[in-house]
Symmetry: C2
Subunit: 451 residues, 2 copies
Amino acid sequence: MSDKAEAYIDANRERFIEELKEWMRIPSVSAQRAHDSDTRACAEWLVAHFQGLGLEACLVERGGHPIVRALGKGQNARRVMIYGHYDVQPEDPLDQWQTPPFEPTIRDGILYGRGSTDDKGQVFTHIKAVESLLKTEGELPCDVLFLLEGEEECGGESLADYVREAKDELKPDAVIVSDSTMYDENTPAITYGLRGMVMFELTLKGPSRDVHSGSYGGAIANPAMVLAQMLSACVDPDGKVLIPHFYDDVAPLEDWEARSLAQLGFNEQAFVDEVKAPRPHGEAGRSTLERIWMRPTFEINGMFGGYTGDGSKTIIPASATAKISCRLVPHQDPARIRDLVAEHIRSVCPDTVRLEVSDFATSPPVLFDVKDPTFPAAQEALRRGFGSESTFIRCGGSIPVVSTFVEHLGCPVILMGFGLDSDGPHSPNEHFSLDSFIRGTKAAAHLLRTI
Amino acid sequence: MSDKAEAYIDANRERFIEELKEWMRIPSVSAQRAHDSDTRACAEWLVAHFQGLGLEACLVERGGHPIVRALGKGQNARRVMIYGHYDVQPEDPLDQWQTPPFEPTIRDGILYGRGSTDDKGQVFTHIKAVESLLKTEGELPCDVLFLLEGEEECGGESLADYVREAKDELKPDAVIVSDSTMYDENTPAITYGLRGMVMFELTLKGPSRDVHSGSYGGAIANPAMVLAQMLSACVDPDGKVLIPHFYDDVAPLEDWEARSLAQLGFNEQAFVDEVKAPRPHGEAGRSTLERIWMRPTFEINGMFGGYTGDGSKTIIPASATAKISCRLVPHQDPARIRDLVAEHIRSVCPDTVRLEVSDFATSPPVLFDVKDPTFPAAQEALRRGFGSESTFIRCGGSIPVVSTFVEHLGCPVILMGFGLDSDGPHSPNEHFSLDSFIRGTKAAAHLLRTI
């Protein structure tokens, strides 16, 4: 790529920022019905903006908030699909914002406002990258297909349904997702693995009602105690999962991954200090990053039974419940783990209580082969845009849309985020570094060439 | 005792029942401010009734609901104190009553209404026993001192405070408590042992807020899981408490107790069927009655942490809490058990969480020596009043006022109840057998002679 596009980005920096601020002023809070017309206005703003750049753009209506689809034709037959979302989180708690959430404000080179990092600011890097290439080179190096949804923050299924149905027409050679983070403010990153999930609820029932612990205590089982004993039979004090065969299919750490983890120099103390946890804790002989990125878990997300009000009530609870989620890693199969978990739960449940297990929700883990040429190409784009080496990271969470792309589009997915966890997505005073915005825009422009 | 008193009771049966119904119509719901004037009216009704019988009666004011105190002087210097309460439980759920709670109604020889068994009906046996002796013999065999409180159902401390302060003036030779049950409808019983209690709340704190289980899962401790593991280290799957030295001072079953338990022919299946528990469960090698009456416990009364709403939320909870109560048996010392429990909890708590333990509430177990001559005397009174043999039983619960009497009055306490668990105290359609009422009145009259 010529330096013209980079020069164009630098020259138009202030306008780009003003346009982003204009877009951010539209409060596209998808989860709130009161903002439905704003959310639609936000999508329509995008369509008009794309059309102004010469792209073929429209709204895809699926009953919920519309999907914005825009296509810019390129010089070669390759097609890059860019995924992002134009909807944002609710603003509350409003009183904790230093400046109003929908009045974007710049302080010390940082853009504050709802959607700045999640995900309008990140999406805009790709839009402005396309503009810069078109204005300086007259055409795009490849087809660029934007699919920007309006239901990411409200759990809508429109995009996934559309991808499933339109996959033979969409047919990208690669998908780029800019809805994640860099490793730190100086280290751009490509996320090549996500954990999956198996989720369920477990209830133990004892007596038909809470009963007096004087009249019954010692002579019938206490469902809360049985629950504690069963959960203890699922995880050892180190955090190792005790379910037989649970780890059978866990991908071992590859040599390059071990070297990469070591090079990152992750600060474990800072990690726990941020949430004021007493100390790092987990499977013996594993680092914190390995525990989060490469190891599966069995976590209690919630637990309740019996009297939970103020003071005391001397009862044996009628029931006790735990909400459980297991994070899965490549190459654990959610269906197999679900069966192993269900079998183990049943095997450790005594006949002194009645066991009820909810339906299991599952999502698969994702792991990309970073040797696929798309990944070095993305690394090169990041190197040029940011002027520093990028790194490969994984993510301990799940991004369901990525699983959808993996399942239906059969192409590499590049998770190339320009935000930081500390940007406060979903929190008051959400913000995005304008330096990252401009460097991200340059990297996005380079990527359409290198990919 | 002559047969005159029994004959008087039989002759005046209908009037006694009408008087009891009149008293029951006063809704003395001590826990509800709206009924404060009713509660006082109920106490004043009692004072007038005692005065009508020739007793010296007054209200003892301690700031809360008054205590009714009435003294009938007797032939000898011995003094029997009769404890009971004139306040009742709230009526709700009102829609489940077949007849209104404060319109006492007789169906098939059973008196229905709030307070019928708990405790107005039982208290009235002693009042009518005193009347019957006075009317047929002209005087009482011994001093009879009634102390009837109005705060039993609302946890008031007036009576305990009064007993503590006035103990040198009260000075009974025996206390009779009629606020318990018979063994079954044909077997009157004397309760000679109560379990005590050590109660506390245990909270484990991890991160300063609920954190994302994708971002942190596997790398910091989950307070709910640590709580489950700690609780499992307190009780084994059989229900045996694992706290070192917990059982050191437990009184062994005496030979006569073992024989008595065997003779009772307790129906364990019916016991669990009543509350629909899957099966009896508890310490190996112990019967259900032994587990409830003679063995200590460690029970979870309530447990909560993390997300407890509908659906799921993939978090690691900031904290998890368990409300615990240990039932104690003779001769466990609450202070020693409190220390053992606290030490064990601390010893099994890892440094991955912060432990907070509330203040401990304790109450001592109670065990009377049934060889004290008061007990055979009470058995004899029951035999005469009911025409059948009585039995000695224990109670798995605690009756705090009994501990107060034991501590401050230093005399035997006879727990001689005429109700049944199935009478539904605290429930809709509370009731009391009129046959038990009359037989109980006769037994109460005999007791003032035999004791």
